[in-house]
């Protein structure tokens, strides 16, 4: 009766549960929507007329990628994972023949669903504010894809903390890493207008290239170099965080 199943089936099984629990707590999505909306409105209100004195800047389009980063960076099912660890529900799954990696991959499916939903909301907010994509429908799709890929790459941090510590408080604190990533960037001004030291720091921050790539889709037209750098930034981060997260999973699974 018991039979071996494929990795896709295992991922689907774990994902089904994760998406279901996601849909049952829509209130948990509120901060992920309120924060970007708030900053979008406040940043536009405070800086739009000042920044647009520099020629060639559409500040609303400039801020939409920032709103997306605020919305999707740091969302994850790590808070559920850490509860599973504490209650022993993870053990209940680990005594089944389920493939170990799919326990994380299944949760990431739910992360992708959430990131896509949040990104769509922010893009619609942009349309309402009058923002248009110079690269058209294909550009919008790519834009959403970048947002989701970035979000997913970032989930490796909270998952690593959850698996290493098994401690909900540590998982909650792990979102602090969002601040340097989000703010030591050209979030408010183009890089050439920023202070020297900040320019240097921003040059090392992957979010800089993500923002610039996403902005190019909005106002710059198709720019291979900007896209390539954004893809490298996302890929580089994903490589680092996924290695950490899946190693932490392997370690927790090996020692119980």
């Amino acid at each position: 009766m018991v039979r071996p199943v494929g990795i896709v089936t295992d991922v689907a099984t774990v994902a089904r549960r994760s998406v279901r629990s996601l849909l049952r707590e829509p209130e948990a999505m509120a901060p992920a929507l309120i924060i970007p909306t708030f900053f979008f409105i406040v940043n536009i209100g405070a800086l739009e007329s000042f920044v647009e004195r520099s020629p060639g800047i559409d500040y609303r389009a400039f801020q939409i990628p920032v709103a997306i980063i605020f919305a999707v960076t740091g969302i994850s099912r790590a808070s559920v994972l850490v509860i599973d660890i504490q209650t022993g529900y993870l053990d209940r799954m680990l005594v089944t023949p389920v493939r170990r990696t799919t326990l994380l991959l299944g949760m990431m499916v739910a992360d992708v669903v959430l990131a896509l939903a949040l990104s769509l909301v922010v893009v619609v907010m942009g349309f309402v504010a009058g923002v248009r994509f110079e690269t058209g429908v294909l550009g919008i799709l790519l834009f959403l894809g970048m947002a989701v890929a970035w979000s997913l790459a970032f989930t490796g941090f909270p998952y690593t903390v959850a698996l290493r510590t098994g401690n909900p408080a540590a998982v909650n604190s792990s979102f602090l890493i969002f601040f340097p990533f989000a703010f030591l960037t050209p979030a408010y001004l183009p890089r050439e207008l920023m202070t020297g030291w900040m320019q240097t720091v921003a040059a090392w921050n992957p979010v800089t290239y993500l923002l610039e790539g996403m902005r190019s889709l909005l106002t710059g037209g198709w720019q291979a170099a900007a896209m390539g750098k954004a893809a490298a930034a996302i890929g580089g981060l994903a490589l680092v965080t996924f290695v950490m997260a899946f190693r932490s999973l392997a370690r927790r699974v090996a020692t119980g």
């Binding site: 009766m1 018991v2 039979r3 071996p4 199943v5 089936t9 295992d10 099984t13 089904r16 549960r17 279901r20 629990s21 049952r24 707590e25 599973d84 209650t87 022993g88 529900y89 053990d91 209940r92 799954m93 680990l94 005594v95 089944t96 023949p97 389920v98 090996a254 020692t255 119980g256």
Partner: protein, 320 residues
């Protein structure tokens, strides 16, 4: 864990008895492939737990301590997830879930979120979930800890039925003497990560003696009383405890008078003298030098539990 060496026959109920922190859960986690032993070797359902964990996992069901369930899901969703994790086909899944719903027997609550369940309902659901794939071997880690007497009796009945009707081999850990006595065909008594006694409950108790006489004494009287008791010819063995002595003998009713007279003429006055048949606690006392019921207050109250294991005789918790 150190030097745990045991062999459980297929179709048996094996009890792993010991106080908190004795190493029971660690042993179960190793046998369930959750924890890698640093040394040694274990075979479950014919497969090595380290080399072939996948083969072991599809043949075992596990209900760990504190019924681990996802509170945000309904009972039915937990059962469905469990069935899918074992790769059951759609038809098998429907049948297994229907069986598990019957087994859990929690009525309409099956479609309510688990956070609304009582402790007893959680245990029943957890047990049903652990059986969803028809395992050969069932591991139960302290299945009744924290349950009220009625829920405990239900779990006991269920374990007996699973073993009797379905032939499931059961490996159960417990800190309740009565539970091991009532359910297990064989019992290993574990203390400090080692097995100190092993055998069927009746064998183990018979090894203590046909009867025991429990003598409660003030602490300064324990040593002299033990010396006096040892001089009585009918006495087989005397064990000193913290609150008195325990005497093993072939015929308690005949010997208790002799012992009382001997103590009295030595100027020793017991607070109480009780004759009863040996319990697993006496086995534990002989093996470790202390009483499990004295260490773990929860086990002392276990005498209130229903079932054939409950002892009618004496206030056991007041023993030496």
């Amino acid at each position: 864990m150190d030097g745990v060496d045991l062999n459980v026959d297929a179709g048996a109920v094996y009890g792993f008895l010991g106080p908190n922190g004795a190493g029971k859960s660690t042993t179960v986690r190793m046998l369930c492939t959750l924890l890698k032993p640093t040394a040694g070797q274990a075979t479950v359902a014919g497969y090595d737990v380290v080399d072939r964990p996948g083969e072991v996992r599809i043949r075992i069901g596990v209900a760990l301590q504190e019924a681990a369930l996802d509170e945000r899901q309904t009972g039915r969703e937990v059962l469905d997830l469990q069935a899918r994790l074992y790769g059951l086909s759609a038809a098998d899944r429907a049948a297994s879930i229907a069986r598990a719903v019957d087994l859990a027997d929690i009525g309409d609550a099956m479609d309510a979120r688990i956070k609304t369940y009582s402790g007893g309902m959680r245990r029943r659901l957890d047990l049903a979930a652990s059986l969803i794939h028809g395992p050969e071997v069932l591991f139960l880690d302290e299945p009744t800890t924290g349950l009220d007497p009625v829920s405990r009796a239900q779990v006991w009945d269920e374990v007996r039925r699973l073993n009797g009707e379905l032939g499931v081999t059961v490996f159960l850990t417990t800190q309740y003497l009565e539970e091991a006595d009532a359910l297990a065909d064989r019992v290993a008594i574990i203390d400090g990560g080692r097995i100190v006694e092993e055998g069927s409950p009746s064998e183990l108790k018979r090894a203590v003696g046909a009867d025991v006489i429990v003598v409660d004494l003030p602490s300064e009287a324990i040593a002299p009383a033990a010396a006096v008791a040892e001089t009585v010819p009918e006495v087989d063995a005397v064990t000193r405890g913290r609150r008195g002595i325990t005497i093993a003998t072939a015929d308690g009713a005949a010997t208790v008078g002799t012992v009382a007279v001997a103590l009295s003429s030595a100027g020793l006055h017991p607070q109480s003298l009780t004759v009863r048949t040996p319990s697993l606690d006496d086995v534990f006392l002989l093996a470790t030098g202390y009483r499990m019921s004295a260490v773990d207050p929860a086990a002392g109250g276990g005498g209130a539990a229903p079932g054939p294991g409950a002892r009618a005789a004496a206030p056991e918790s007041g023993g030496p």
